[in-house]
């Protein structure tokens, strides 16, 4: 078997194991939370018997191990149970909101990734000169601004001062693609601001790091222009670090945007989770937690794979 395929297989297997471990951790974590689900559901109207019955029906009286494996069994068949609060089918509810989450993340990523890498290259090209200083300064300011502040500025600017966008971004099935785009424009802008800086700075750093190498001098002595040098010789060798930071930020766009969702009342997973956390709606918390973990792990595997493929030593062993 080609060692590359072997590596890929290994990475994926590792990822799956990790995911399984995460599911255990989340399960245990929720087990350890103070407070009792049955109590949480019945609230003050709880009586000893009704509690007992509910525990029975929820299977809370079984051992954690059994409960975990029954849960896992169902989860593997795509059945995540029902929300305790309003009996919605979790898989269904999550399904749509996951879609919204990904839609937002993809839109933001599609703009932020190329933009930040481009800026990173430019900054590296003019290292230490004014374009570099300008880009670094602006992105530094962005990285230093809390998301929600950025969010309100954007509302102020783009819905009131220059009324071209909508402050409320909720999207529904049945909306046209461009309708949706228009709806999420504001959160997208804010998220781009949030992740741009990090990726751009890392790209710049990675490129500058590579620029130390002897083969860059070789390229310069061949008579290549600075941008040719960066594009042809530096970038290919900086792929791995850049990808890894891109992935961190993509993961962030999926799992870390609760605040933005809240501000723009965007109906995606984050807000859904937050709503259910306080209600101790554990099946929901668990399900969403797993999904987030899966996204994170999946993206990391992706990064690993790209890193491997980008590395000729692994692609073409001796």
């Amino acid at each position: 078997m080609h060692p590359l395929i072997k590596l890929v297989a290994q990475r994926i297997a590792l990822g799956l194991i990790l995911l399984l471990a995460v599911s255990v951790v989340i399960f245990l974590g929720i087990e350890m939370l103070p407070g009792d689900t049955a109590q949480a559901i019945l609230g003050q109207s709880a009586t000893a018997t009704s509690l007992a019955n509910l525990r029975e029906s929820l299977g809370l009286n079984q051992s954690p191990a059994t409960r975990y494996f029954t849960w896992l069994g169902h989860a593997l068949q795509g059945d995540l149970g029902k929300a305790l609060t309003n009996q919605q089918d979790i898989a269904q509810a999550i399904g749509q909101r996951l879609g919204n989450t990904l839609f937002l993340a993809v839109c933001a990523g599609a703009i932020a990734v190329p933009l930040s890498i481009g800026l990173g290259l430019v900054a590296a090209r003019f290292n230490g000169r004014w374009p570099d200083k300008l880009i670094s300064g602006v992105t530094l300011a962005m990285i230093s601004l809390p998301e929600f502040v950025a969010a309100y500025f954007m509302i102020l600017l783009l819905t009131l001062v220059i009324p071209i966008l909508q402050p409320v971004s909720m999207i529904f099935p049945g909306m046209g693609f461009f309708e949706k785009l228009h709806a999420v424009a504001l959160p997208v802008i804010v998220l781009v601001m949030v992740v741009l800086a990090h990726m751009m700075r890392m790209t710049r750093a990675a490129i500058l790091n590579v620029m130390q190498s002897a083969y860059i001098e070789t390229a310069e002595l061949k008579g290549l222009s600075p941008m040719q040098v960066i594009w042809r010789h530096a970038l290919p060798n900086a792929v791995a670090p850049i990808i890894s930071v891109v992935v961190i930020n993509l993961a962030y766009l999926v799992v870390g945007v609760v605040v933005v969702e809240v501000v723009f009342s965007y109906n995606a997973l984050g807000q859904y989770l937050v709503d259910h956390v306080a209600k101790r709606d554990l099946p929901v918390v668990q399900a969403v937690g797993i999904i987030f973990a899966a996204v994170y792990i999946g993206l990391n595997i992706l990064a690993d794979l790209i890193g491997i493929i980008a590395n000729p030593r692994l692609r073409h062993p001796k």
Binding site: L140, S144, L208, V255, V262
Partner: protein, 271 residues
């Protein structure tokens, strides 16, 4: 010692913030929870930065809020650093199953998004500074772990470390006398990054109503209190927001400068 202007500005500003935080009770013109003025007064000779949503002096609250923000951020990043660096070095120098074990655990922790963990934990545990600091510190230590492990691993293969081993030096000497001094500057720079992250993170938590308890308020909380006015250009919410940004930028400038002196690229915003 040559300090570039940007770093100098950063140092001075950071210094100012820390001082005002430390001496808050002495320099704040008004008590933190006294509603002295009308709602959302503009800046005036009486209230330099205006008043907030129930007529408290914003400058005073900024100063007190700063001490809270900085205290929490500092102690949580110290915690995350203590833990992260210690285990990171341990993993790098010991290697073997210790390394593998710790690394896998960290992978696990990182796979669960920290904001979510914070939300869950903070919504069920009693809300107080200790819990807040613990949660943030532990969550953030994973990144420090990865960095310090990487840095230490680079250093651990150096001949002078091998020489120390050959001499028969103990683990302690090797970590603290051979490795640590050479790992310092990337770690210090990372510390800056972590600190900023902590500041932003508390702000976010406070914004979601899971942060500092009133009448104490961190800057994030102040933004929330006054956000209704923000959309109408009331400066009240602007001030704490700017304070956060300026502090972050200042620390960032210092960190960048330290980083430049040793080219190591790590850190950044957390997921």
């Amino acid at each position: 010692m040559r300090i570039p202007l940007s770093a100098l500005i950063g140092l001075v500003m950071t210094g100012l913030f820390v001082l005002s935080a430390v001496f808050a009770p002495w320099i704040a013109p008004y008590p933190i929870d006294a509603a002295v003025g009308k709602v959302w007064e503009g800046p005036s000779s009486q209230y330099w930065l205006g008043t907030d949503t129930i007529g408290r002096d914003i400058l005073s609250r900024l100063i007190y809020g700063g001490s809270v923000t900085i205290f929490v951020a500092l102690s949580s990043s110290l915690l995350s650093f203590g833990m992260g660096a210690f285990f990171g070095f341990l993993a790098a120098t010991r290697g073997g199953w210790i390394d593998t074990g710790l690394s896998r655990i960290v992978d696990l922790m990182m796979a669960v998004p920290s904001l979510i963990v914070a939300l869950v934990v903070l919504s069920v545990l009693p809300l107080n500074l200790t819990v807040l600091i613990l949660v943030m510190g532990v969550l953030d230590s994973t990144r420090v772990f990865r960095l310090s492990r990487a840095v230490a691993a680079d250093i651990a293969v150096m001949d002078y470390v091998e020489a120390a081993k050959l001499r028969g030096e103990k683990q302690g000497w090797i970590i603290f006398r051979e490795i640590l001094p050479n790992a310092m500057s990337p770690l210090v720079a990372e510390f800056g990054m972590r600190f900023i992250f902590a500041v932003l993170f508390i702000s976010t938590l406070s914004f979601l109503g899971l942060g500092i308890q009133p009448p104490l308020s961190d800057w994030g909380g102040m933004v929330r209190e006054n956000k209704d006015g923000l959309v109408y250009g009331k400066a009240a919410a602007l001030m704490p927001a700017l304070a956060i940004a300026v502090l972050a930028i200042s620390v960032n400038l210092v960190a960048d400068w330290i980083l430049q002196r040793t080219s190591s690229l790590k850190g950044g915003r957390g997921g």
